[in-house]
């Protein structure tokens, strides 16, 4: 418990934490409602997924979550604070777990606010010609919204694990955003088979399958399996980060 408190104080007092959390909320809502407002469906039919449009702000706000997660650990390395932390709390894995818990809590809170506000704003801006109204009473729509919040939390854990392993903040954020954005970019230039595989293993493309509410059959992975792929990435990153934190000198 004291670990959690210590990590919360450290993260709270970092310059920028509050701003980054606010940015997560603001960017999620802004991008989502602009996209939803721009959806133009011809009368003949519309293949657009309303959930994807409303929740498209996640594509951008995940980068802010990644910054927050990277700073949570690399700020300690750049100031030398990590040596104080590890002297006071020699159980290094527990330190990382405490950081992960605090970070997850903050991201879940900001993500929930952002996603709920996006849903409220998006429902107003989504044109009436949209194929189906978006409603949290609908199971798939609820899964898309709740899954997006979990997605952000998992991105935070992936970034925390990566930054613990890499330590330098610029390099860590480069690695995290590379993992997120490069898979779909490269998949777009690959042949159909490769493209499908890349979309199945890429943490962003697989994880965002959780937002799909239409055309589920043509998805490379089912929504929860996709989020599972991202969870596996996050677990692997945390494991690598934890082991390196334990083995290396700080």
């Amino acid at each position: 418990m004291r670990f959690l408190h210590a990590e919360l104080v450290k993260l709270r007092t970092l310059p920028g934490t509050v701003w980054l959390l606010l940015a997560v909320v603001a960017l999620t809502v802004a991008v989502g409602s602009i996209t939803a407002a721009a959806v133009a469906c011809p009368a003949s039919g519309c293949g657009l997924d309303p959930a994807r449009a409303i929740l498209s702000g996640i594509d951008l706000s995940q980068a802010v979550v990644a910054i927050l997660a990277v700073l949570a650990i690399s700020a300690e390395y750049s100031t030398g604070m990590i040596r104080v932390t590890l002297t006071a709390m020699p159980r290094r894995i527990a330190v990382l777990m405490a950081k992960a818990a605090v970070l997850t809590g903050l991201v879940l809170a900001a993500g929930t606010v952002g996603v709920l506000a996006s849903v409220l704003a998006g429902r107003r801006t989504l044109p009436a010609t949209s194929p189906a109204p978006y409603s949290l009473a609908n199971g798939a729509d609820l899964r898309a919204a709740a899954g997006s919040v979990l997605y952000l939390a998992l991105i935070g854990l992936l970034a925390l694990g990566t930054a613990t392993a890499v330590r330098d903040s610029a390099a860590s954020i480069g690695v995290v955003l590379g993992l997120l954005y490069l898979f779909p970019v490269i998949a777009s230039a690959a042949g159909p088979d490769w493209s499908r595989h890349l979309q199945q293993i890429g943490p962003m493309s697989a994880g965002l399958d959780i937002q799909a509410t239409t055309g589920l059959r043509s998805l490379p992975l089912s929504p929860w399996a996709g989020l599972g792929v991202l969870a596996a990435w996050a677990a692997a990153a945390l494991l690598a980060g934890g082991l390196l934190l334990r083995w290396r000198d700080a």
Binding site: A170, L177, L182, V185, G191
Partner: protein, 516 residues
């Protein structure tokens, strides 16, 4: 002004911009990690570009399976398929006809059947063509589904005539006269008052050439939900002609019908046909007489396909560029740097020049290798690569290197403004890579915001990689995801440079104003 030295015996060192550049270059090359990262960036671009992840069947099953279409008189790829009702024309002559109807059929939404509908560029009219070979020179007067009367020639030429659509109540008269190699098109709404639409000279017309009536209708493509994903199929157009009159060297025999460029196989559908009854000629055809386009209504990839690894290289370069500035702050070196060069704007300028030059050189090597070799790899794997001129290829290679260099400068300026590595790296990657991702790679955005991002975001710079030409007389989804950017190559690059200029201006201002 000579500086006053506290030790008179020591000469003042040279302090020009060249020395500043040298100092920054030494700082850059003395960090082994940055040099290695630059090499990694080059290797990543090459490896991802040469990795044969795409395969096709073009040229794989003998010479006839090549995917290259016919070439037009100007050497460009063309589509040339239509139903041609023709007879020989020796030397000079004239053909006049009245068109009373143009109707069409397009695929149903499910794609299994046909429904009534007319493509805007469905065409029916009169044509004089060098031969029945695909890609040969021609001039034609036609009515279209949605663009009025046109005179078109040699695939890329397009001149407007009378506006409005054709019907029995509002027929159109068309006339085409040949005089040697010169063809002149006229149109009329009543058959008595004629307007000249245009005169063109076709190269290499034989004395006797085929001429007559034609109909064709291009590939139907629908964008679902205003998104850039498309579906479709072939469409058909039927023109009804009457009051046909021929003058000059037309042969006296009857009309012959040919489906020019009709695709073979059972799946191809009817190539069209013609019928004569009571002074009326009805011609039905499918295809198009136009320059070829990539994307929805075409196939193949462009040489930009080989440059996909640029995004991996870009991320590495952005990290290095940000560190080039933030590491000075972290180590306190910035205070030494600024004490040595109190004119802070020049420090930033020197860093930008060194970083830009290093990145440009690295990017040039990587993109030159990957564009030249990558095309061969793709072709060997049976993928059709759109041919480009040597000049366009040089522009794509140098332009890509320049985009990387300018992106590095943006990263440097952002790092100067933010002074935080993580925030700077993330901001730059988000403003350059994310717009590309959302408009080109995974087009989940509606067309409106996608078009706006492709014009105004720094990702507009990737327009420098486009090699396809947009033709107003060919309907297509001209979206970035199909290789068509809303801005011209260098205009897109200028947008990226404008972002760099703004970032540098803000960075210079803040570097001067703030304590280091």
């Amino acid at each position: 002004m000579t500086p006053t030295l506290y030790r008179p015996g020591v000469q003042a060192g040279p302090d020009g911009f060249a020395q500043l550049l040298r100092a920054e270059w030494v700082k850059f090359r003395s960090v082994r990690g940055w040099v290695i990262a630059m090499i990694v960036a080059v290797l990543a671009i090459i490896a991802l570009g040469l990795g044969p992840s795409m395969t096709g069947t073009c040229g794989k099953n003998g010479p006839a399976s090549g995917c290259a279409g016919p070439l037009g008189p100007g050497g460009e790829q063309v589509t040339d398929s239509f139903y041609f009702v023709h007879r020989p024309l020796a030397a000079n002559g004239e053909i006049t006809v009245r068109v009373t109807s143009l109707t069409g059929q397009i695929p149903t939404i499910s794609g299994t059947g046909m429904r009534t509908g007319l493509m805007p560029w469905a065409k029916a009219g009169i044509i004089i063509k060098a031969s029945t070979r695909q890609g040969s020179a021609y001039a034609a007067m036609m009515v279209t589904g949605g663009h009025g009367v046109r005179m078109q020639y040699d695939y890329t030429g397009d001149l407007p005539g009378l506006a409005g659509s054709v019907s029995a109540a509002s027929p159109r008269w068309l006339r085409l006269t040949r005089s040697g190699g010169t063809l002149t098109g006229y149109d009329s709404a009543n058959g008595t008052r004629w307007t000249r639409v245009g005169t063109v000279t076709l190269a290499g017309l034989a004395r006797t050439v085929p001429g007559g009536l034609f109909a064709t209708s291009p590939q139907y493509a629908q964008t679902s939900a205003g998104l850039s994903s498309v579906s479709g199929g072939p469409s058909r157009a039927t023109g009804v002609f009457g009051q046909l009159s021929l003058r000059g060297g037309w042969s006296g025999g009857g009309w012959a019908g040919s489906a020019i460029g009709a695709p073979g196989g059972p799946a191809a559908g009817s190539p069209g046909g013609f019928a004569q009854a009571a002074g009326r000629l009805t011609v039905t055809g499918t295809g198009d007489i136009a320059p070829s386009v990539s994307g929805a209504s075409g196939n193949g990839v462009t040489i930009a396909q080989t440059l996909i690894g640029v995004f991996a290289g870009l991320i590495v370069i952005v990290v290095v560029a940000v560190m080039f500035m933030t590491s000075e702050y972290r180590r306190g070196l910035i205070r030494v740097t600024l004490a040595a060069t109190p004119r802070r704007g020049r420090v930033l300028a020197a860093k930008a020049v060194v970083l830009g030059a290093v990145t440009f050189a690295a990017g040039l090597v990587a993109s030159a290798v990957v564009v030249t070799l990558g095309q061969t790899v793709l072709r060997n794997h049976g993928v059709y690569v759109w041919p480009v001129t040597a000049l366009a290829e040089v522009r794509v290679i140098a332009g890509t290197a320049a985009v990387l260099a300018v992106a590095a400068v943006i990263a440097l300026a952002t790092a100067t403004v933010l002074r935080r590595s993580a925030a700077a790296v993330a901001s730059v990657i988000v403003v350059i890579v994310l717009p590309y991702l959302l408009t080109v790679a995974v087009p989940i955005l509606p067309l409106g915001p996608a078009d706006w991002l492709a014009r105004a975001s720094p990702a507009a710079g990737f327009a420098v990689q486009q090699t396809l030409i947009q033709y107003p007389q060919v309907s297509n989804v001209y979206a970035p995801s199909a290789g068509y950017w809303p801005l011209a190559p260098w205009a897109g690059f200028a947008v990226l440079c404008a972002w760099a200029a703004v970032a540098l201006a803000v960075a210079t201002y803040l570097l001067r104003k703030r304590d280091a």
